[in-house]
Symmetry: C2
Subunit: 152 residues, 2 copies
DNA sequence: TTGCATTATTTGCAGGTACAATTATTGCAA
DNA sequence: TTGCAATAATTGTACCTGCAAATAATGCAA
């Protein structure tokens, strides 16, 4: 047993969890204050905004979100009710639907992106130099790749 | 604009969020399968287990959890109902309460720790060499320190 | 010592989320 | 071409969470 505290996997994971949770809460509140948008809504809107034709199949969408399929369904329900997104049946597979960003959604998105981008810089980017950001990206990519084929 | 994709703060944060979310879901399911314990319960039990006298003030507990105060109250309610934790008023400040691990709680904790530790190694530690774990720990510590004084 | 701002914790309430079952459609295989 | 397992998405249900208000106790200041 060394004198200096050893960084075990458990300790590293725990600290990661804490830091990420705190950031999530900060981002959520700030986004809500700035453009009256929950972070979960924002996540949906960004995905669509950066997709070809500002549209995505429900499945693709939920895969890239931090949610299950059913969670994505309800979330899109709410956003659709607010007029930021609309649904359209998929021509090529009638089981599927597209979620599509509306004009209102795009406008809001542009404001939100500015606000959230600034928040990320303020609470995340500012504290890490470019090397650290690159390293973090690499580490998280490894973890994601190593846990790919898991449902949810 | 460089040819190689640049790792901006936003991209690094997004990847972090995805990876952590996936790990959380994996850990939660595995723990549930192995010892029939939700990850949130586990979080409470570990904190108490590693505290002096296996007890912690509600406030201290919720501070170290990924939850608000009120969330911690309800969570401890449920765990208490299951007999793994009990509450005791704080002698030194009658506004406060201690959450205390019961004997049952300690027994379960020992099993759970083994299972979850293995899971962390399998899905997290295994994919990162010791240097990366140390770096990650350092990065997350910076982020946590930089976002200290924020309520929630 | 009385009054009041502050702190610790809990509750009412209004969503948000996951799991499992359901509906609709696809496409392969006999 | 009929039957059936697989797939896309949704819905029923039960639980979990956060916010803000309520309750209770503290301790400082006039």
């Amino acid at each position: 047993m060394a004198v200096a505290e050893q960084v075990t996997a458990g300790v590293a994971w725990e600290r990661t969890l804490r830091a990420v949770s705190r950031l999530l809460r900060v981002f959520d509140r700030e986004l809500q204050d700035d453009v009256d948008l929950p972070l979960t809504w924002y996540d949906v809107l960004v995905q669509l905004y950066s997709a070809p034709d500002v549209r995505l199949r429900m499945q693709t969408l939920s895969d890239s979100l931090v949610l299950t399929r059913s969670g994505a369904t309800r979330l899109v329900d709410r956003i659709e009710k607010a007029g930021l997104v609309r649904r359209e049946p998929a021509a090529e597979d009638r089981r599927g639907y597209y979620a599509i960003l509306t004009a209102d959604g795009q406008r809001l998105m542009e404001r939100a992106q500015k606000a959230h981008g600034a928040g990320i810089e303020r609470h995340f980017g500012k504290h890490l130099d470019p090397d650290e950001q690159k390293t973090l990206f690499a580490i998280m990519s490894k973890l994601l790749a190593g846990n790919q084929n898991i449902p949810g």
